[in-house]
């Protein structure tokens, strides 16, 4: 049982590295989609002992939004703005992977500092959650394309979701749904913004965003 959880969690780590390594936006989108499905699986596995309607609802919502809705939406935007690869990011792909590893180590350290009270689903849960989050931030920091940044945001979001799924027991379904909804709207708004950016700047390269400064 625990082995399955662990392996899923590790799979998430792998998806993180995929996100870090791939330059093609399409691949990034696929990566997020993959994470979305994995999260659904993780949700099921962690609550396998009592699969209430509540859990099912969450699973459907999570997979539906994170695994299907976002990727489709992002794909559409991707097609509107015909950019296909991340051209020269601030930090190269190989270095990115190394940094990802460093992030993983840091997360392990933080996890060690935070002894989880009560029954633990997996010792890996918290470190992975953190590292996924950091991966997301790292994408935002190191990539130039607005779309990549959105994907980074999603990755971070996923990391937090992993955390919520694995570590938190007492939590209200409504809040979970509300959160998912909010994220949905957020990504939607960002998509619109990207659309406008593409229109105004003939590119989605946020590197051009430097006219506002002191």
């Amino acid at each position: 049982m625990g082995i399955w959880v662990d392996s899923t969690i590790i799979f998430i780590v792998l998806t993180n590295f995929m996100l870090l390594a791939s330059s093609r936006l399409a691949a990034l989108v696929r990566g997020v989609a993959l994470q979305g499905f994995t999260l659904g699986a993780l949700l099921l596995l962690t609550h396998s002992d009592n699969l209430t309607y509540r859990v099912w609802l969450l699973v459907v919502a999570a997979v539906g939004i994170k695994g299907i809705a976002f990727p489709m939406f992002l794909k559409r935007t991707l097609n509107n703005i015909n950019v296909h690869r991340e051209v020269e990011p601030y930090i190269g792909y190989s270095l990115s992977i190394l940094i990802g590893i460093a992030g993983l180590l840091l997360s392990l350290w933080i996890g060690s500092r935070l002894p989880l009270p009560g029954p633990i689903v997996s010792t890996l849960a918290i470190p992975v959650a953190f590292s996924t989050m950091l991966t997301g931030f790292f994408l935002i920091i190191s990539r130039k394309n607005a779309l990549t940044q959105v994907i980074g945001y999603l990755a971070a979001e996923n990391g937090i979701f992993v955390f919520g799924v694995t570590a938190v027991h007492s939590s209200s379904i409504w809040v979970e749904l509300g959160i998912l909804l909010d994220v949905l709207v957020a990504v939607f708004v960002m998509g619109i913004a990207i659309h406008h950016i593409n229109k105004e700047f003939e590119s989605t390269d946020v590197d051009r965003f430097s006219s506002l400064k002191d």
């Binding site: 935070l114 937090i160 027991h169 939590s171 209200s172 959160i179 957020a186 708004v189 105004e200 002191d214």
Partner: protein, 492 residues
């Protein structure tokens, strides 16, 4: 019921705004909603409305204070907005800064978003449940992003994107904080504990300290981004300088406070768990840091809207400093929240008029306001004196109280830095403001300046009066409320 009304009336009105076709009637929605909203708020002063949704929504002292600020400011802003939208010429026109052609976003969206913005902020002030609180704060971001992109040109778009991205990231962290907080709650047999402030405070010291601290750090960084604590403030000057003045007024005057409220909630729990000093120390640190960073950028600032934005960073710093010091300073901080919102709201509205008259945001190109647009000029000077904490205006009293709190609790170094930074910021702002208001305006400006219209002059003037009154007279009920709020934070 009142609480639900406070939240949903603006929402309904917003939806209505989307369907209405006729401009005038749509604009009319703003003051109407504002009046209703503030009336409801006022009623809450007299008989406290009961909790809703099993205590998830509840109006305590803090909530009432920030709700009142938001509501009052929105009331004034709504009237200003009507005048503002009336003055705005629609359709294609040239941007004076880069010369590109741009047009406005559809007005329906603008009005609707303003109303949604109000609703979301109201939600933040009302919630006691941390999850819901997070939803509320995120909602404010989403509702306000389109407002910043009202003038559809590159700079505003850039500002919007930064706002959206940075705040979303920050708020994602806050979500993490929420989960950590949930972990901090000890396992209880049967149903889990609802994540409501009062409940968690009841648990008190039985919460897991480490997780609580971690949670607070995440909340602080997350909501701090939204609140504009340095070095997380980076979105703030861009958004404030590029958005329409009425929006800047609301962002600075209301939104930042709401974000701060979202930090205060976990602080309450932290204090109840006996870890108050941990949180306060961080607040003091970030408070001083914010003041320092603000000082850096206010000195020799060439864009007056950015200057005001940085001044907001400064004052958020002062407020969190006050709360961090606690005791009488907490009271001062609460009072300062009120004063700052009014002054800053007024100042941003004034910048709208300056922009309309001079068609530039560059302080070097603005001169002789007192001659060209006298009322605005007077308000500008008055607001400057107020914001820099000169008597007889409100901020003086609050900043004085904060200082007293610091000295009384023996935070001498902090007090010295506080005074030093205030002095530097004062010098920086004087040089800018005086240059703008005094002297004789250039012929070019004299020719193109349109005369001031009441709709855009009266609202800030009202705020000015309020600030002046608060400087010489703090009504007892308000003092009672402030004391109540401060006591919720463990202050006096």
């Amino acid at each position: 019921m009142v609480l639900l009304g406070l939240i949903f009336i603006p929402v309904v009105m917003g939806l209505l705004a989307l369907v209405l076709r006729h401009d005038a009637s749509r604009r009319l929605l703003l003051p109407v909603t504002a009046v209703i909203h503030s009336a409801l708020t006022a009623s809450a002063w007299f008989d406290a409305p009961g909790p809703v949704w099993g205590g998830w929504l509840l109006l305590d002292g803090l909530g009432l204070l920030f709700l009142s600020i938001t509501s009052a400011l929105f009331l004034v802003a709504s009237f200003y907005a009507v005048g503002y939208l009336g003055k705005e010429d629609r359709g294609q026109r040239q941007d004076f800064q880069e010369g590109v052609i741009f047009s406005n976003a559809p007005e329906a969206a603008f009005v609707a978003c303003l109303l949604f913005f109000l609703a979301s902020m109201t939600l933040v002030t009302l919630c006691q449940h941390f999850g819901l609180l997070w939803v509320g704060v995120e909602a404010t971001t989403l509702a306000s992003a389109p407002l910043i992109y009202f003038h559809r040109h590159r700079r505003s778009l850039e500002a919007t994107w930064k706002y959206l991205m940075i705040c979303s990231v920050g708020i994602a962290l806050a979500l993490m904080g929420y989960l950590l907080l949930a972990i901090a709650v000890p396992e209880t047999p049967g149903t889990g504990v609802p994540m409501v402030v009062s409940e968690l405070m009841r648990l008190g010291t039985s919460l897991h300290t480490v997780w609580l601290k971690a949670a607070f750090i995440f909340f602080l960084v997350g909501y701090g981004t939204k609140m504009g604590l340095a070095p997380l403030h980076t979105w703030l000057p861009d958004a404030h300088s590029e958005s329409p003045s009425v929006v800047s007024a609301l962002l600075s005057g209301a939104l930042l406070n709401c974000a701060f409220l979202a930090i205060l909630r976990p602080l309450q729990v932290l204090s109840a768990a006996g870890e108050g000093p941990f949180g306060r120390e961080l607040l003091v640190f970030f408070g001083l840091l914010s003041m320092a960073v603000a000082a850096i950028f206010i000195l020799g600032q060439e864009d007056y809207k950015r200057m005001l934005a940085y001044s907001s960073v400064e004052h958020m710093g002062i407020i969190s400093l006050g709360v961090g010091i606690g005791g009488g300073a907490a009271f001062g901080a609460m009072l300062h929240a009120v004063n700052h919102s009014f002054v800053k709201g007024m100042l941003f509205m004034v910048t709208g008029n300056i922009l309309a008259a001079y068609k530039t945001k560059n302080t070097r190109k603005v001169q002789g306001m007192l001659r060209l647009i006298p009322v605005t000029g007077v308000l500008w000077v008055l607001g400057f004196l107020a914001i820099t904490g000169s008597p007889p205006f409100g901020p003086f009293l609050s900043e004085f109280t904060v200082l007293k709190g610091m000295l009384d609790t023996g935070h001498t170094t902090a007090a010295v830095m506080y005074l030093l930074l205030l002095a530097i910021i004062f010098i920086g702002m004087t040089s800018v403001v005086l240059k703008m208001s005094q002297g004789a305006p250039s012929e070019a400006h004299q020719s193109m300046a349109s005369r001031e219209i009441y709709a855009t002059v009266i609202p800030p003037a009202l705020l000015a009066v309020a600030v002046t009154v608060l400087g010489v007279y703090v009504p007892l009920p308000l003092q009672a409320l402030l004391h109540n709020a401060a006591s919720l934070l463990g202050g006096s």
